[in-house]
């Protein structure tokens, strides 16, 4: 029953747009497409520049860190206290190698700090002990 009215209505159509509308709509859409395309190219170029800049910053950062570390090592090596401790520990190692053990080293190192024992320590030094 409903089919008749349905079929009848299918003989109708919705009104069409004016023929001029097509060129207007397409021209606007195309210009947006072009702008978007240019935008995409600019965006891609910007991304490349950004990537290069980021790599450069990273490279400079690594160099700066290495430089800083090297500088700190040099400063530590040049520090007189560090040098003194290093020599002292080398002496202890030497005494250890001589079979005089770490306790002996400690004793000698302790004695060397006492002012009036200095001649005794100097005497030991003569024997390279």
């Amino acid at each position: 029953m409903n089919k008749d009215i349905e079929t009848r209505m299918k003989e109708l159509r919705l009104t069409a747009p004016s023929p001029e509308l097509k060129s207007k709509v397409l021209s606007n859409a195309r210009s947006v497409w072009r702008e978007e395309g240019n935008g995409t190219i600019l965006h891609m170029q910007f991304r490349s520049v950004l990537a290069i800049a980021a790599s450069l910053v990273l490279f400079i950062g690594i160099i700066a860190i290495l430089n800083h570390t090297e500088d700190r090592n040099t400063r530590t090596a040049m520090n007189p206290y560090w040098l003194k401790n290093k020599i002292s520990s080398e002496n202890i190692k030497f005494l250890d190698d001589m079979g005089l053990g770490p306790d002996y080293g400690k004793v000698i190192a302790g004695i060397s700090e006492i002012k009036h024992m200095k001649p005794f320590v100097d005497r030991l030094s003569e024997f390279k002990l």
Binding site: I5, E11, R13, L14, T15, P17, V25, L26, N28, E36
Partner: protein, 183 residues
């Protein structure tokens, strides 16, 4: 329908290839239909033109999604629908509209039987008198030749709801057209 599917595929391929000639094809295939759907909603030729223009700009911006869309026809009509609703929200005053009658309905070139002006007028009045949600289903089903499934995807309602809205609409139209021997 297979022809349409082939055209849909060609259009989508062009969008995927970032080829602007896709726009021409979209207009050729969907331009009139989208305009007809829009004018049935907004009932103003100038508003329908404005929305169609906006729609094609949206198409350019969403070309990647359109290239991958499951059903390009539903996708385009959904954009049209959203833009029309956006216009309703923004519209503060009633502009020149085709009020009173659904004057956007015309006799198609291949309209088989003769239509006397009185009958055409009566159909226009009857369609115009339908509630918005029923009129939209009628327009999409009868004039845009969409399936219930496509309409349900577009309107985001179940197919059963679409079918019942369509049935109620036809009953109302039949009731309104009593004097013209519709059974």
């Amino acid at each position: 329908m297979p022809d349409n599917m082939e055209i849909f595929r060609v259009i989508q391929k062009k969008f995927q290839d970032n080829d602007p000639s896709a726009l021409e094809l979209v207009y050729e295939h969907f331009g009139k239909r989208l305009y007809g759907y829009l004018i049935s909603m907004v009932k103003s030729p100038s508003d329908a033109e404005e929305i169609l223009n906006e729609l094609f700009i949206t198409v350019v911006r969403k070309r990647e999604q359109i290239g991958k869309a499951e059903n390009i026809r539903v996708y385009l009509f959904a954009i049209a629908r959203n833009l029309a609703y956006e216009m309703f929200r923004k519209r503060t005053s009633q502009k020149e509209t085709l009020s009173g009658y659904a004057q956007y309905l015309e006799i198609s070139e291949d309209g088989g039987s003769k239509w006397d002006p009185e009958e055409l007028d009566a159909v226009r009045k009857a369609v115009d008198g339908l509630p918005d949600e029923q009129r939209e289903v009628v327009v999409l089903k009868i004039f845009e030749r969409m399936t219930f499934e496509e309409i349900s995807q577009l309107m985001r309602i179940s197919q059963n709801t679409v079918a019942s809205r369509y049935r109620y609409a036809l009953e109302k139209l039949k009731e309104q057209m009593k004097g013209f021997e519709y059974e």
